[in-house]
């Protein structure tokens, strides 16, 4: 353990899920249940044994990896993969259920920004409080106070209670305090997911400064661009297991390409079918390799596929999609018979099972999350099926034009335009 900052050895973390929803059929059962439950719970409370209950899940299973001092490691994976749990264990917030973790150095965790902030206290008071909670000795806070306030930009309001701050000011102050932590090991969880574009840019900037100072950093994010920019290596978690450890480029590629197909697809069962001859079966998003994905690259085309069945011949049926941003702004609507030729060819659709597919061209959408909706109708006659928020997917702009500047570009579209530069 000479130059290792963190050593994780067969780490496991188990959680008990929910108070077991005992269902009782008879009043007698209910009463007996009511009497039994306190006894059981008191026994568990006074003498907690290792989980003997059936309702437990292993959020982390047999995880082993090392982090050298000064290394910047990214942790990626789908929601629920165990990333936050891993950080919580490393931050000593929660205890391992199995295995061992060895940590060398003080750990500063940014699991959330503004931890411990109290709305009644002023910005100044909260800075001291938050700093102390994060582990900064008072002398250190005194020394860095001016720097922190300067970084946050809330100088004028530093003596007003924080409950009067706008959410932006709040975030900036909270991040300013956290950013001036100087631990040997920094553990960051999706802090960049909140705030406006400018705030995120500032966060990224500060994070890369910290990384360059030679501290060990563990960084969890869904933002592949940030991961690629800040980290050298990543580990990929999936359902509690460590499935891959590789250089960032390779790891991100693996993650995005593995087509975690639970998401990226929305299917409808019989009881969800609307009355009428149109029966929606599934809506899918695929990448160029035909994998079902919920995250795509903006530099690649996105395939959207609707699978459905119709019971009888339908004239003038059109099946199509809506695309919306997460904020609900409509981006476009497009039907499979929009094209005049298609409209002619499929004027009458015979009964059967169909797949309507379209391709959203590469270099169209900007990074972010989008919502797909489905519509099946005959214009001005009947709307057979509509689901405006059937599926969401994410677009990542890794490798897109202009990515040599790490900035968030506003707007829903990110086209690759042909620029000509001429010296006059």
């Amino acid at each position: 353990m000479n130059n290792l900052a963190i050593r994780v050895d067969h780490l496991g973390k188990q959680y008990r899920i929910g108070a077991s929803p005992d269902r009782y059929n008879t009043l007698r059962d209910s009463i007996v249940g009511m009497l039994k439950t306190p006894i059981r719970r008191i026994r568990q409370g006074l003498m907690p044994t290792s989980e003997d209950e059936h309702n437990t899940i292993w959020a982390l299973k047999d995880i082993s990896f090392d982090v050298k001092q000064g290394q910047v490691l990214g942790v990626i994976g789908r929601n629920g993969a165990g990333k936050s749990t891993l950080l919580k264990v490393l931050s000593r917030v929660t205890e391992p259920s199995a295995g061992e973790v060895e940590i060398r150095g003080r750990v500063g965790s940014l699991l959330e920004v503004g931890t411990g902030f109290h709305p009644e206290l002023t910005g100044r008071e909260n800075t001291y409080l938050n700093g102390a909670i994060l582990g900064m000795p008072r002398s250190e806070i005194d020394r860095k106070f001016d720097e922190i306030i300067d970084f946050s930009g809330v100088e004028k309001f530093i003596d007003t209670p924080v409950k009067r701050y706008s959410s932006g000011m709040y975030l900036r102050l909270a991040f300013a305090v956290a950013a001036h932590l100087e631990p040997e090991i920094l553990v960051v969880d999706e802090v960049l997911a909140v705030g406006d574009a400018e705030f995120q840019r500032k966060c990224l900037g500060k994070m890369s400064d910290v990384a360059q100072e030679g501290r060990t950093v563990l960084f969890v994010s869904h933002n592949m661009s940030a991961i690629l920019r800040l980290t050298e290596e990543v580990i990929v978690l999936d359902r509690g297991l460590l499935v891959k450890r590789a250089s960032t480029v390779e790891g991100v590629d693996y993650y995005m390409a593995s087509g975690f197909s639970e998401a990226g697809e929305r299917s409808w069962t019989e009881d969800e079918w609307p009355p009428g001859p149109f029966k929606p079966l599934a809506l899918r998003v695929r990448d160029v390799r035909e994998q079902i994905v919920d995250m795509t690259r903006s530099t690649e085309p996105i395939i959207v596929e609707i699978e459905y069945e119709i019971d009888e011949a339908m004239q003038g049926l059109r099946v199509g999609i809506y695309l919306m941003s997460m904020r609900g702004e409509h981006i476009f609507t497009s039907f499979d018979t929009d094209d005049a030729e298609k409209f002619e060819e499929f004027g009458v659709r015979r009964p059967g099972r169909y797949k309507s597919r379209c391709i959203i061209p590469a270099d169209t959408l900007n990074e972010g999350r989008y919502v797909l909706g489905v519509n099946a109708s005959i214009f001005r006659v009947n709307r057979f099926f509509q689901d405006e928020r059937a599926l969401t997917f994410t677009v990542d702009t890794v490798g897109a034009p202009g990515k040599q500047w790490p900035e968030t570009r506003l707007g829903l579209v990110r086209p690759r335009l042909e620029w000509k530069i001429e010296l006059q």
């Binding site: 959680y15 973790v101 109290h118 206290l121």
Partner: protein
């Protein structure tokens, strides 16, 4: 939860995290390392309590005064239980209300402390003992203010404070130890069983009546006084009154006997509370 090796100047501290089972050590080293946080959390609790109030710190005086009046009327005028010596009833009761107030405020706030601090509990590491500890310490400020008023009242009534006042710091410590012992148990239990949060105010009320706040221990038949002293607050309050006025409950068992019984219970509560809290600590972040 973790064992720490000795930190040296150049080599950073190494910490090993393993699943723990059974009883944990008290980890006082970590507590010392985080001592500033104790100050900050106590300071936060005190400041927040009085921000946005009109009367602010005056409440530290008004509350005990009101309590005193009620107790005087109920126990003094209605029940006719009057204190020994020539201490005026109201003064006697005000003096009793102060340590009682310290204790009951500490107990109630410690009981709630884990739940009300859940946001920092689930995000940051620090020795969890700090939370009930700082909520207990928060009561000291109010106590100090009330104490000055007490001195003022004594001057007003012409009662001379006795030399035993020197022992006050010890008695305050006694009071805090008792409050912390109870507070640790309640705060840990409250995380598991939210019932505790509901029971606590009622429990504190009952405790008020079985403690010699409104009346003196001498009211209890002498042969039962040793049993009565198993309530640690008995020792706290009687020793406080002795320190301030020099009075001792008569007829009664010797004060040192009373205090010894109470103090033993108090220490037992504290030690058992500490160990129970540390044992349950590993589940707090997951259950709070």
């Amino acid at each position: 939860m973790a064992e720490t090796s000795l930190p040296t100047k150049t080599v950073p501290e190494t910490v090993i995290l393993r699943p723990s089972s059974g009883w944990s050590t008290l980890n006082l080293r970590d507590l010392w390392a985080y001592r500033e946080l104790i100050y900050f959390l106590t300071w936060r609790d005190v400041i927040v309590r009085y921000k946005q109030t009109v009367l602010g710190a005056a409440w530290a005086v008004i509350n005990p005064l009101i309590n005193m009046v009620v107790l005087q009327v109920v126990f003094g005028n209605f029940a006719g239980m009057n204190p020994e010596g020539d201490i005026p009833g109201p003064l006697f009761r005000f003096a009793s209300v102060l340590p009682w107030g310290l204790f009951s405020a500490a107990l109630n706030s410690a009981g709630r402390s884990m739940l009300s601090n859940r946001s920092i509990l689930t995000k940051i590491y620090f020795p969890r003992l700090i939370i009930p500890l700082s909520s207990v310490l928060g009561g000291l400020v109010d106590f100090a203010i009330g104490f000055f008023v007490l001195i003022g009242m004594m001057v007003f009534w012409g009662v001379v404070p006795s030399w035993q006042m020197i022992t006050l710091p010890l008695i305050i410590l006694f009071s805090l130890v008792t409050a912390l012992g109870g507070g640790l148990w309640f705060s840990a239990l409250n995380v598991l069983y939210r019932d505790v949060g509901y029971v606590l105010p009622v429990f504190t009320q009952l405790l008020l009546f079985i403690s010699p706040v409104g009346y003196s221990t001498s009211t209890v038949p002498v042969q039962w006084q040793w049993l009565y002293a198993l309530n640690p607050i008995v020792g706290v309050i009687e020793s406080f009154r002795w320190a301030v006025f020099g009075t001792v409950p008569t007829p009664g068992i010797p004060l040192w006997a009373l205090v010894t019984i109470s103090a033993s219970v108090s220490i037992l509560l504290l030690v058992s509370g500490l160990f129970y809290f540390r044992r349950m600590e590993r589940t707090f972040a997951d259950m709070v």
